[in-house]
Symmetry: C2
Subunit: 340 residues, 2 copies
């Protein structure tokens, strides 16, 4: 028998391969299936997350400066740690590179890694450097700490909770479309140099994302404990459905509440896509999606960087989007899928 | 300016890229440069190690069963944790695979992963599964625990200490040569099926290595605290020179004390190499190399699995091998190097 990986999809594949996974150590509090794992170490808790980035799948070196790539490789992992309401403290970094890559190119990559470590106050504590037959492969593991049982999973959302999101959505996707378009133009007319200066916000969102340290620190300061949380790497729809599945709830999402940037609207029009579609299915924004109880509404609404975009329902009600025109559509996950 | 990676070599490259690495967190007790890093978590200590395995560089799927590969990918990381005298507790696993790989093939790989987790009592707590353009890439991060300040680094060897090694050396290298020879014969005469049954020990050493859990537990039980320790992934010479450099000492190694298996001797003759060369430069044995003070000589010599193979000297005396004929040769690292 032969089953194609594509028939399961990325999430289906992980579920399939890990469904018989057993944990033996009492210290393993949370295993495969959330943004990060949680391990108990003598009463204190650590949060661990890992991600792999593959050239040609997750990034295109034609338009990705190596320094930005190093920065982003760290940030996307820290984002998973913040999505547990934890504070990242250390990372390990393994890379496989072709012999054709120069030491100077790797230095640039590491400059980006160190810049991210400095900004987020984490230490690079180990790694592995090896040869690859083709392309650059990057694997980062991030470690963080959290006060006992103060971590937030995907599975705690309850009917009536409010759905919140930080920052704005869809810009990273539009930045990527812009880079892909300019690449195509350049390949057809090598004399034409792309001018992306005017779109530095959108391009910056895809090439140099940031993790939501400030949001997590603010929530901690204000004593707001979200009931569930996830980072948006695959698009709002996909992530909200992860929360719904893990929490066994449904949701209602309001299109007119989804935050989008001023730069995203005109660019979405240029690309002839709805800006809402970019937010729902685009991915790579690395904003935080979380739910809070209604008692926290007042506190949360005071933070200009947080938008309340919907609410949690009973599972039987399903997951829906209320459009600007007042129509109700089932929410479907069309997020980016590297096995698609 | 363009510097070739090969001009620095793997260890030179890592040193170069991490020489300006700073640590900011007080909890980071030991960073890049040992078998694993050590982080302090509120007074208790965790040990973290990571490794990447690349198809065509670290393994050849033509003669590596996927189940063994999954087992080995875990074991080589646990070996790094044991080499700190720590106990592994959790791992994360990331893989990049081609779409051409079937789900059933991945299931086999995971069977091996789970078998290693069971044998060594560790939990798989997270990971990432993504597409690769070509070939299988595996990245494992292992986490372990150790009583406060009871971890052992590479840097504590002192003149007069005894150099010890577990098990036997060189067999994994000979197993690999055997597999490579049979592969060549098979490619030239596809009708000929290799018969490796008689060499199951040597072939097993390369395809399904074990980590030295028993040795570490025995040392802990007997209250023997090695002054330095490293696992042998690259060959005895290379690893002993790592200890010498990190500890700022020299060493004398006796050829006739280096443990080799009964299976290795005749096979080395077949391949027309010295069995000592296999032990010194072969690599992938995943035995432990460590130093103890002379007071521990009696205890250590009672363990039939541990050989005392030399002693530590002042750095100025350099690192030497005393041959069976009584000649003194400088020890050089010709270990396996994936950038070679």
């Amino acid at each position: 028998m032969r089953t194609e990986i594509a028939s399961l999809g990325e999430f289906g594949l992980i579920r399939h391969l890990t469904e018989e996974n057993e944990t033996r150590n009492a210290g393993t509090l949370l295993s495969v299936g959330d943004d990060a794992a949680v391990i108990d170490q003598f009463g204190r808790q650590s949060v661990i997350s890992t991600d792999m980035l593959v050239e040609g799948v997750h990034f295109d070196l034609m338009y990705t400066p190596l320094k930005h790539l190093g920065y982003k490789a760290v940030v996307v992992n820290l984002s998973d740690i913040y999505a547990m309401m934890a504070t990242p403290t250390q990372i390990t970094l393994s890379i496989a590179v072709s012999n054709k890559v120069s030491v100077e190119a790797l230095e640039e990559f590491y400059e980006g890694v160190y810049a991210a470590c400095e900004k987020y106050n984490v230490d690079l504590i180990g790694g592995d450097t090896t040869t690859s037959r083709s392309g650059l492969i990057i694997s980062v593991t991030a470690i963080g700490e959290v006060a006992p049982d103060k971590f937030v999973t995907r599975s705690g959302a309850k009917p009536g909770d409010l759905v919140c999101v930080s920052g704005d959505l869809g810009s990273a996707y539009l930045g990527l479309q812009l880079l892909e378009r300019e690449k195509k133009i350049f390949l057809e007319n090598p004399g034409v140099q792309p001018d992306l200066q005017q779109q530095s916000y959108l391009v910056g969102r895809i090439l140099k994302p940031e993790a939501q340290m400030d949001i997590v620190e603010w929530l901690q300061e204000k004593g707001i404990m979200p009931t569930s949380m996830i980072d948006i790497s695959d698009g709002l729809s996909s992530e909200l459905l992860h929360i719904c599945r893990a929490s066994e709830v449904g949701c209602v999402l309001y299109e007119d509440k989804i935050p989008v940037s001023d730069e995203a609207r005109p660019m979405a029009m240029q690309f002839n896509v709805s800006v809402t579609t970019c937010a729902l299915n685009g991915g790579e924004d690395y904003e935080l999606l979380f739910t809070v109880t209604q008692e926290d509404y007042e506190k949360v609404s005071k933070n200009g960087l947080i938008s309340v975009i919907g609410y949690i329902t009973e599972a039987a009600e399903g997951a829906h989007l209320i459009t600007k025109g007042g129509n109700k559509h089932p929410l479907t996950a069309q997020g980016w899928n590297s096995f698609g």
